[in-house]
Symmetry: C2
Subunit: 238 residues, 2 copies
């Protein structure tokens, strides 16, 4: 029986303790981050608090193995004097929605191979997409996630605004959104790129700009330019 202590009250802490509780070989406790005057012993202590609280929390822990769950936080910045690791799950968690851990990539890091294997076996109790990712790579995974999740979602929002201002049901775009996401699992984004920017169809581009608000024009222009620069540099290379 491996004992797990989860520190935190947020979405990650919530879903993680719920999932671990179903595993027979684990015993799980959860405490809030304001409740650290008496920290229970555990084989693995998981700090799942906001990024700027991780350091302070880790200072107070004397348990043998302490890991955090943040994308953008160095392993070395943990302040405990015992073993350190990272147990980062690459998905956006919200309390209302159930989490299917079998689909979530686990990005694991430890100071040595033995500790890595401990984290790997812990991750394997929940899922099977397991990646050895160091602190520098993890930060880059995190910024990549901002592009494919936060920014992509904002582009959906802009489209939804355009539609709703013009009595067009946003659902009309659902099949295209789904197909766009599905396609890059089969071909690369370069191969999947279509549209006026990559065709350099300047007439359509200027028609589109006329339809947009100033703020959306700026986004349209910069992304069009970026697609074209990329296409151009590719052509130069080939």
């Amino acid at each position: 029986m491996i004992s797990i202590l989860i520190i935190g009250n947020g979405n990650v802490a919530h879903h993680l303790q719920k999932a671990f509780k179903k595993i027979n070989t684990l015993s799980v406790m959860q405490i809030g981050s304001r409740n650290l005057n008496k920290i229970p012993f555990a084989d693995i202590t998981i700090i799942a608090v906001s990024d700027n609280a991780i350091s302070e929390v880790s200072k107070k822990i004397t348990n043998p193995f302490v890991v955090h769950t943040a994308g953008n936080f160095d392993l070395k910045s943990l302040q405990n004097n015992t073993r350190k690791g990272v147990f980062y799950m690459l998905q956006s968690f919200s309390k209302a929605t159930d989490v299917n851990f079998s689909q979530i990539p686990f990005c694991l890091e430890a100071e040595n191979n033995e500790d890595y294997l401990v984290l790997e076996s812990l991750a394997k109790t929940l899922g099977n997409k397991i990646y050895k990712i160091d602190s520098k790579q993890r930060k880059l995974v995190h910024v990549s996630a901002v592009f494919v999740n936060n920014f992509t979602n904002h582009l959906y929002k802009i489209s939804r605004d355009i539609c709703s201002h013009n009595n067009i049901p946003f659902e009309i775009l659902f099949p295209l959104i789904a197909e766009t996401a599905r396609k890059i699992e089969v071909i690369t984004p370069e191969q999947a790129q279509t549209g006026p920017a990559v065709r350099n169809d300047t007439k359509t581009i200027s028609n589109h700009l006329e339809l947009l608000s100033a703020q959306h024009q700026e986004i349209y222009s910069i992304l069009t330019k970026s697609i074209q620069e990329n296409t151009h540099s590719q052509k130069t290379l080939n």
Copy 2:
């Protein structure tokens, strides 16, 4: 038996004639757009050529009902002297990939209700997502599609570049990409928005900017600003 003539050799023409050929109640012909000295008669003539050729092609047609398949082209810009319409399918077609028409939204437009019903029954032979969309709306659907397809795909490309330059398998992002696309069918993009921009987590934002190339910094900054302006204006409204 309704006779259909498709003019064009591109992806839309290709997939459309292939699909119509399977329908018992339709007879289908296809000709290239450079072969217009002798145009066969058909009940419905579908011009599926590049945008800047539609006008010229339509001039030469005396058939009773002529429609085009372009997102960004006015019904009124068709130059035939007979009935006019639009049969626009909102999906990105590529010759290599099969098309599932049951999932494709048909955006239909005609000059009167009778003609609209003709197009509707034609679309119903292939699918069931059918929308009455006028020329102005269709242009806005088209520009919205650029945001959720062309631009989103480019954000995928940027993420893939970041990953491949740092020995991170791009597939690590597939579950997040799929979940991001799936989520907005259940909640609005506003509700789904997470990340440092909407949290105004300036420390993470500046960490991210340090990791990026100048070109990617520009895109990161402008989309972060747009998310924040939007969040701010929403808060002011509520």
